[in-house]
């Protein structure tokens, strides 16, 4: 289970990691500056296992992989959103940051509440309210990459990209 950090719609990559702070590949640096200006309390208080809830179009904007990397580097368990921008979603899947689409969970959960998420089944339980929700199933190809733990592992397992 993890504490919910509930963010709004159109959380773009400049909010997640401003361009001034992503001139690095160092995970500790990226973790520190995740949502640094937009949600300072998040960057100061986020703990391993916490959960990010987003509205529509989470991760829109730049292709910078620093954005999902900065969230993963904070050991966030999963990002659940009403919808994801395409490049962010793909990047998250590639690097092994769990992402789920679940409109109901986002609409019926509040910042600071606790969620329990089963990443294998997509079952989401709000421990504060007792409500349960079911995330949308993954695209079959995406599911194979997720199961492998990212695109690099997937290619290593398959021997090639196919």
């Amino acid at each position: 289970m993890g504490r919910i950090w509930k963010l709004g719609d159109n959380i773009n990559t400049d909010l997640i990691i401003p361009g001034r702070y992503n001139v690095t590949t160092d995970h500790a640096q990226l973790a520190k500056y995740c949502l640094y200006e937009a949600y300072p309390e998040f960057s100061q208080q986020v703990k391993p296992g916490d959960i990010v809830l987003g509205g529509h179009n989470f991760g829109c904007g730049s292709s910078r992989e620093h954005a999902p990397t900065s969230i993963l580097a904070n050991k966030v368990k999963v990002v659940i959103a009403r919808s994801f921008a395409r490049i962010f979603y793909r990047n998250a899947v590639n690097i092994g940051l769990p992402v789920l689409v679940c409109e109901e969970a986002v609409l019926n959960s509040e910042d600071g509440q606790e969620l329990d998420v089963n990443l294998e089944t997509g079952e989401i339980r709000n421990l504060t309210t007792g409500q349960t929700f079911q995330a949308e199933p993954l695209d079959p190809f995406v599911a194979r990459i997720v199961a492998a733990g990212g695109i690099i592992n997937y290619i290593e397992m398959e021997g090639t990209l196919r």
């Binding site: 400049d14 001139v23 904007g61 292709s63 395409r86």
Partner: protein, 422 residues
């Protein structure tokens, strides 16, 4: 048979494919830039086993230095050195002569019917050439460097059909903002946009690139325009490669949007999202601190020409700073020859070296707390150009030039009308 996106993937794979299918494609070119290459190198090294791996084809792998060039900080310089070392090992020549999305076409790497992946979201710009260009993250690009391949879900397509006659003072950028106003910031998420209609057909390659560039601001995976004789003429002398002029054949579009530009006014996107669009004449009370003319959206020769036409013989408001950055060296040299750079400099602007400039808020025009910028950029996200309390407005080169003269957001028709009376 299908949309332009389906036609391109069918051509690449040699069999008919349709929207919704997941396909693995041999890509024609792979691109990353100074900010996204370092993470791509990490993914590449993991996949190929550290130093031993070679890119799939060094002539079709491209690294462009444009995001912080010349390096503004020690951190940037250090990353640049790391990338240079990788490029040397891999026999990749680093391009340092402008913004990736301008330089890639100029070098002849973007031809109709090709599939190009870039580690930059505005890689959709290549759609202006009838190429399926799309942005991806560094890991996908590292995989593409290693394997020459990438996977795609063939997208559904939204057709934006643009008709009518553009009024004086209204440009491709204004039409692009009108489309974002219609579709919203995620209206084309996971989809291709296919631009058609007489306005597009009559547009130059530069104007078409403005359209395709803005596709990602609606979440678009690609912003496609069928190649034609205008495309062919532009590519003449830039490539010897043969290419097909593909177009949609009995397409099934998910949605069709009709836009008549005849009564369109100069538009401005207000912070913090690109779809908050108002006529420039309705936001003229907004005081501006900096104007920026440039970027992969509007840093081309015709953009500079429009602005130079407004600024010639004039000086900018003493309360404003103006930054002008041609999108590439080719454009810079031509603008110099035509006297545009002199016009900008005499007007009081800072003319910068080709690249992304202040668009990512790292150098050459960063904003202080509470400041406002009027720019030709594609994005007005909070904090993008500097302090998170600074605000970014988007408009055409004409609106930006007119604003530079007054210090407030200005409808360029006011200046153009004054000129025609004089």
């Amino acid at each position: 048979m299908g949309t332009l996106a389906e036609e391109i993937f069918s051509y690449k794979l040699g069999r008919p494919v349709h929207a919704g299918e997941t396909v693995v494609v041999d890509v024609d070119h792979v691109m990353s830039h100074d900010t996204t290459t370092p993470l791509a190198i990490k993914a590449f090294a993991k996949l190929t086993g550290q130093k031993t791996g070679k890119v799939f084809d060094s002539k079709r792998s491209h690294i462009v230095f444009d995001h912080i060039i010349p390096a503004a900080t020690i951190a940037a310089a250090t990353l640049h050195r790391e990338v240079r070392n990788f490029a040397k090992e891999q026999d990749i020549s680093i391009l340092q002569e402008g913004i990736c999305h301008q330089v890639m076409p100029e070098k002849g790497f973007v031809v109709p019917g090709s599939v190009i992946v870039g580690a930059d979201s505005h890689s959709c710009t290549y759609g202006a050439f009838g190429a399926f260009g799309t942005g991806m993250g560094s890991t996908d690009i590292g995989v593409a460097y290693a394997t020459g391949r990438s996977w795609f879900r063939v997208p559904e397509t939204i057709n934006v059909n643009i008709t009518g006659t553009l009024p004086a003072g209204v440009y491709a950028k204004d039409v692009s903002l009108e489309i974002v106003r219609h579709l919203g910031v995620d209206g084309a998420n996971y989809r291709a946009i296919e631009y058609t209609g007489e306005v597009i057909e009559n547009f130059s390659m530069s104007e078409r690139m403005t359209f395709s560039n803005m596709a990602i601001e609606m979440g678009g995976k690609a912003g496609l325009i069928a190649a034609d004789e205008t495309t062919r003429a532009w590519l003449q002398g830039r490539t010897d490669q043969e290419y097909p002029l593909l177009r949609a054949v009995n397409p099934h579009y998910e949605r069709v949007i009709e836009i008549d530009v005849t009564n369109l006014k100069p538009l401005v996107a207000c912070p913090p999202d690109v779809n908050i669009v108002h006529p420039a004449e309705e936001v003229t009370n907004v005081k501006i601190d900096e104007v920026f003319l440039g970027t992969c959206t509007n840093g081309r020769l015709d953009d500079l020409e429009i602005a130079a036409g407004i600024l010639a013989g004039r000086t900018i408001s003493p309360d404003i700073r103006m930054v002008v950055i041609p999108a590439s060296r080719e454009i810079y040299l031509e603008a110099m020859r035509l006297g545009y750079l002199e016009i900008f400099s005499r007007a009081g602007a800072s003319v910068g070296t080709p690249g992304c400039g202040p668009c990512i808020g790292r150098h050459f025009g960063v904003l202080a707390p509470g400041e406002r910028a009027m720019t030709t950029m594609n994005r007005n996200f909070t904090g993008r150009m500097g302090d998170p309390t600074a605000e970014i407005y988007l408009g055409s080169p004409a609106t930006v030039a007119a604003t530079a003269l007054t210090g407030y957001i200005t409808d360029p028709r006011a200046i153009l009308l004054e000129e025609s009376r004089a």
